[in-house]
C-alpha cells in the first residue's frame, strides 16, 4: 500500500469511498455546552485554537496600526498616547494571549496524551479550568482595552507603571496574572501526564521529541510563572497604596521589579520557543523519513535550555545600573544557553542527510523556521555580548531580534504544526498549493518587514517611538510594506483552513506515513483516543516498524 515514489509522501485514501469515521471526538456530543463543559483534551485544544487565533488577529491588527503610523516620520496618524497603547496591547496580547499558549495549549494539549498512549491528560478538569482562566485573562485584557487601554509597554517598567500612568494598569496586570495561572496549570498537567500516564513500553527515550520539548517548557511554566504573578501583584499593590517597594523616593528599588519580572520573562521566551522546536522535530523527521539525528542530544538540549534559561535573566538589564560584575556573569551564562539551540539546529539539518526528503507545506515552514531562528538566535548573541548590547539595546535591533525568534521562529513552527496535524485534528487535508503559496508569502513578507529593522536598530532608531527622524523613513517604509505582505500571508491559512473543514480531501489515518502513535489511530480520533491501551514496542521515528505495520495491514480505513 505504500505510496508510489514521487515528490510527495501524501497517501490519502481513495476519496470516492473514504469517509470521516462515524464516531470521533468532534461528533461525539453535540451542542455548544458539550464543548464548553468538555473535559476532553482534544476539544479543549480546539477551544484554545479558536481563542488564540482570535487574539492573534487582534494583536496583528495592532501590529498593522503600529506599522501604519510608522510609515511616516511625523506623528500623524494617532496621538502618542494612542500609539503607546498600540504597542502595549500588541505586546501583551501577542505574548501572553497568543505565543505562550500557542503550541502547548493547542497542539500540545491535543497530542501529548495521544503521543504517550494515554486517554487524556492527568487532570482533565484542571485542563478545562485552565482554558477558562485563559478566557478570563483574555476578557480582562479586552476590558482594559475597551476602557481606554494600557500604555506601560508589555514590560510594566516601574516606577512608570506604578506612579506615573493613569491608564488601566491594574486591569491589565490582573489579566496577565490570571492568564499566568492558566499557563501554570497547563504546564503542571503536562508534567504529571508525562511522568505518570505513559503507556506500557513508552520509556523516556521512546517519547517523541515533541513531548520532550513540552516537558522542558512545562518546567519553565511551573517554576517561572509564579514569580511573574508576585511581581505583578506587587505592582498592583504599589499602585493602589503607593507604598514604595519600587519607588526610589521612598527607599524602594525599581530594579527589584526588573529582577522579578525578567526572572519569569526570560524563561518565558523559552516557554515560547521550546514547543515550537518540538514541532520542528516531528516535521523534519516525517518529511525526511528518518529518525532525528542525535535523538538524545536533541532531547537533552531541550532540558538544558530549560535549566540554563533560569540563569540569564539579567541580560535584559545590562545598562540599567546593575553591577558590572554580575553583568559579566550573566553575559557568560547567556552565551552558554545559546549553545543547546545551535545543537538542535545542526541535528535537524543533519537529519536530512541520507533522508528521502519531500517538501510539503509543514516542511516549508520548518525550513523557514530554521533559517529565521538561526538569524534571530545569533542576533541574540549580539545582545548578550555586553559592549554590543550598550549600542543595540532599546533600539529596533531588539525588535528585529525578537520578531525573528518569535514570529520567524515560533509562529512559523506553529503554522508548520497546524498544517502538519490539521488532517489529524479535523480529518481533512488543507489545500496543498495554496498553503505553499502562503508559506512562501509569509517568508518573503517576514524578511521584508524585519530585516530592515536590524539596520534601523544599528542606526540607532529607538523602539517604542511614535515619531522618528526623517532619515529613517525608507527603511520604515520597507518594513511597513513587508508587514502588509505578512498580514496577507497570515490571512490565507485562516481562510483556506476554514474552507477545508468542509471541502478538504479526506485525510485518512496517516496521510504523511508518519510514525507517531497519533498517526496510528483514526482521524479525527475517538473520544478516548485508543480503543485499547497501546503498547509501545519500538523507538520513536522508526520508519521500518511503520513499513512493516503498513505491509501487514489489510485496510487503511476501517
Amino acid at each position: 500500500m505504500s505510496a508510489a515514489i514521487g515528490n510527495t509522501i501524501v497517501s490519502l485514501p481513495d476519496q470516492s469511498t473514504a469517509q470521516i469515521p462515524r464516531h470521533n471526538y468532534i461528533n461525539n456530543e453535540h451542542g455548544l455546552l458539550s464543548w464548553l463543559l468538555t473535559s476532553d483534551h482534544k476539544r479543549i485544544a480546539i477551544l484554545y485554537l479558536i481563542s488564540i487565533t482570535f487574539f492573534f488577529f487582534i494583536g496583528g491588527a495592532f501590529a498593522g496600526l503600529i506599522r501604519l503610523e510608522l510609515l511616516t516620520p511625523q506623528p500623524d496618524l494617532v496621538s502618542s498616547d494612542t500609539y503607546n497603547k498600540f504597542f502595549t496591547m500588541h505586546g501583551i496580547i501577542m505574548i501572553f494571549l497568543f505565543l505562550v499558549p500557542s503550541v502547548p495549549a493547542t497542539l500540545g494539549n491535543f497530542l501529548i496524551p495521544i503521543m504517550l498512549g494515554a486517554k487524556d491528560l492527568a487532570f482533565p478538569k484542571i485542563n478545562l479550568l485552565s482554558w477558562y482562566l485563559y478566557m478570563i485573562g483574555g476578557t480582562l485584557t479586552l476590558t482594559a482595552l475597551v476602557l481606554g487601554g494600557v500604555d506601560t509597554g508589555w514590560t510594566f517598567t516601574t516606577p512608570l507603571s506604578t506612579h506615573y500612568l493613569n491608564t488601566h494598569v491594574i486591569t491589565a496586570a490582573t489579566a496577565i496574572f490570571v492568564a499566568g495561572f492558566s499557563s501554570i496549570f497547563t504546564g503542571l498537567n503536562f508534567i504529571v501526564t508525562i511522568h505518570r500516564m505513559r503507556c506500557p513500553g513508552m520509556t523516556w527515550f521512546r517519547m517523541p521529541l515533541f513531548v520532550w520539548a513540552h516537558y522542558a517548557a512545562s518546567l519553565l511554566m511551573v517554576l517561572g510563572t509564579p514569580v511573574l504573578a508576585i511581581a505583578l501583584t506587587l505592582v498592583a499593590l504599589e499602585r493602589l497604596f503607593g507604598i514604595g517597594v519600587f519607588d526610589p523616593t521612598k527607599g524602594g528599588d525599581p530594579l527589584l521589579f526588573q529582577h522579578l519580572f525578567w526572572f519569569y520573562s526570560h524563561p518565558a521566551v523559552y516557554i515560547m520557543i521550546l514547543p515550537g522546536m518540538g514541532v520542528i522535530s516531528e516535521v523534519i523527521s516525517t518529511f525526511s523519513r528518518k529518525r532525528i539525528f542525535g535523538y538524545t542530544a536533541v532531547a537533552f538540549s531541550s532540558v538544558a535550555i530549560a535549566l540554563f534559561g533560569f540563569f540569564v535573566w539579567e541580560h535584559h538589564m545590562f545598562i540599567m545600573g546593575v553591577s558590572s560584575y554580575s553583568a559579566l556573569v550573566f553575559s557568560l551564562l547567556t552565551m552558554l544557553v545559546a549553545v543547546p539551540s545551535a545543537i538542535k539546529i545542526f541535528n535537524w539539518t543533519f537529519t536530512l542527510q541520507k533522508g528521502s526528503i519531500t517538501f510539503e507545506t509543514p516542511m516549508l515552514y520548518a525550513f523557514g523556521f530554521m533559517g529565521l531562528f538561526t538569524i534571530g538566535g545569533l542576533t541574540g548573541i549580539f545582545l548578550g555580548s555586553l559592549g554590543m548590547d550598550i549600542h543595540l539595546t532599546e533600539t529596533y535591533f531588539i525588535v528585529a531580534h525578537f520578531h525573528f525568534v518569535m514570529v520567524g521562529g515560533m509562529l512559523m513552527a506553529f503554522l508548520a504544526g497546524i498544517h502538519f496535524w490539521w488532517p489529524k485534528m479535523t480529518g481533512r487535508m488543507y489545500p496543498e498549493s495554496l498553503s505553499k503559496l502562503a508559506a512562501v508569502t509569509t517568508f518573503i513578507g517576514f524578511n521584508l518587514t524585519f530585516l530592515p529593522q536590524f539596520i534601523l536598530g544599528y542606526l540607532g532608531m529607538p523602539r517604542r517611538y511614535h515619531a522618528y527622524p526623517p532619515e529613517f523613513q525608507v527603511l520604515n517604509v520597507l518594513s511597513t510594506a513587508g508587514a502588509t505582505v505578512l498580514g496577507f500571508g497570515y490571512m490565507l491559512p485562516m481562510l483556506y483552513l476554514a474552507w477545508s473543514l468542509k471541502y478538504g480531501a479526506i485525510a485518512g489515518n496517516n496521510p504523511w506515513q508518519a510514525t507517531g502513535l497519533e498517526w496510528q489511530i483514526q482521524s479525527p480520533p475517538l473520544m478516548e483516543n485508543f480503543i485499547e491501551t497501546p503498547v509501545m514496542d519500538h523507538e520513536a521515528y522508526d520508519y521500518e516498524w511503520l513499513a512493516n505495520k503498513t505491509r501487514n495491514e489489510v485496510t487503511t480505513v476501517g
Partner: protein, 262 residues
C-alpha cells in the same frame, strides 16, 4: 514482572497483528474500582500518585510565589535594618507565638485527619477536620486583632501611615532608641512586606478553610472512609505548606531584634 510485555521491545520484529497495540490488562494491578476512579487512569494507584505529584508541583509554584516576597524582604531588611528592627518590635511576640502554636496544632489535627481517612474512621476524620478548621479560624481571629491594632496605630502603609512612634518613641512610652526621620520612613516598607506576606498567607488560609468546610461535609457523608483518601491527603499537603510558610514568616517578621539595643 511483566516480562512478557517487555519482550516485544524488538523493533524489527514483524507485527502480524493488524492491531499491534496490545491491551495492557494487568490483572495483578487492577484494584477494585472505586466510584471515584477516573476513567482515563489505568489504575487507581496511578490516579493517586498523579494526584499527589500534581499537588506537589502546585506547591512548588507556591514556593516561587512566596519566594519573590521573601527576596524583597531579604533585600530591604539588609538595607534598612534599623527600621526593620524597630518596626518588628511593634509586633506582639505573644500573639505571634500563640498563632504559631495554633497553626502547628491545626497542622497536627490535619495530619491526624489524613491518618483517620487512611484507617477509614469516618467520625474521627470529621472531628479532626473540624478541629483543623477551628484552629485555622482562631489563627485568623488573632491575625485580625493584630491587623486592627496596626490600623489604630496608623501602621498600615499608605496615606495614613504615621512614623512618629518610631521617631519619638518616648512620647509613646516605648523604650526604644529613636530612629532618624529618614530611616523611620522605611518602616513603611517593613509594614508593607508584613501585610503583603501575612496577607497572602491569610488568603491561602481562607481558601483552605473554605475547602475544609466542603471536605468536612463530604467526609461526613462518608466519601473518604472507603479507601479513597486522595482529596484529604492532597488538602493536607496544602494545609501543611501554609503552616510551613508561617514557620518562616514568624521569626523573620516578629523576631528581628528582640534584645535591647546597645
Amino acid at each position: 514482572m511483566d516480562n512478557a510485555l517487555a519482550s516485544t521491545g524488538l523493533t524489527t520484529q514483524p507485527a502480524p497483528d493488524p492491531h499491534p497495540h496490545e491491551t495492557a490488562v494487568h490483572a495483578e494491578h487492577e484494584h477494585v474500582a472505586l466510584p471515584q476512579h477516573r476513567h482515563h487512569f489505568e489504575t487507581e494507584e496511578q490516579q493517586r500518585e498523579a494526584g499527589s505529584f500534581g499537588m506537589w508541583l502546585f506547591l512548588v509554584t507556591e514556593i516561587m510565589f512566596f519566594g519573590g516576597m521573601f527576596f524583597a524582604y531579604l533585600l530591604y531588611r539588609n538595607w534598612y535594618y534599623p527600621a526593620f528592627a524597630a518596626a518588628s518590635s511593634q509586633l506582639s511576640v505573644p500573639l505571634g507565638g500563640t498563632n504559631t502554636a495554633i497553626l502547628i496544632t491545626s497542622g497536627f489535627c490535619m495530619a491526624l485527619g489524613v491518618w483517620a481517612a487512611e484507617v477509614r474512621r469516618r467520625k474521627m476524620l470529621v472531628v479532626t477536620l473540624i478541629l483543623t478548621t477551628l484552629f485555622g479560624l482562631a489563627f485568623l481571629g488573632i491575625k485580625y486583632d493584630e491587623y486592627h491594632e496596626k490600623y489604630e496605630l496608623h501602621h498600615i502603609p499608605g496615606n495614613n501611615f504615621n512614623v512618629s512612634q518610631f521617631v519619638n518613641p518616648a512620647a509613646y512610652g516605648i523604650k526604644e532608641e529613636p530612629l532618624a526621620p529618614d530611616m523611620a520612613q522605611k518602616t513603611q516598607i517593613f509594614f508593607f512586606l508584613y501585610f503583603a506576606m501575612t496577607g497572602m498567607h491569610a488568603v491561602h488560609l481562607i481558601i483552605g478553610i473554605g475547602l475544609l468546610f466542603w471536605l468536612t461535609w463530604r467526609a461526613h457523608r462518608g466519601d473518604f472512609s472507603s479507601g479513597y483518601v486522595a482529596p484529604i491527603e492532597n488538602f493536607g499537603l496544602y494545609w501543611h505548606f501554609i503552616d510551613i510558610v508561617w514557620l518562616f514568616l514568624f521569626p523573620l517578621l516578629y523576631l528581628i531584634n528582640r534584645h535591647p539595643l546597645h
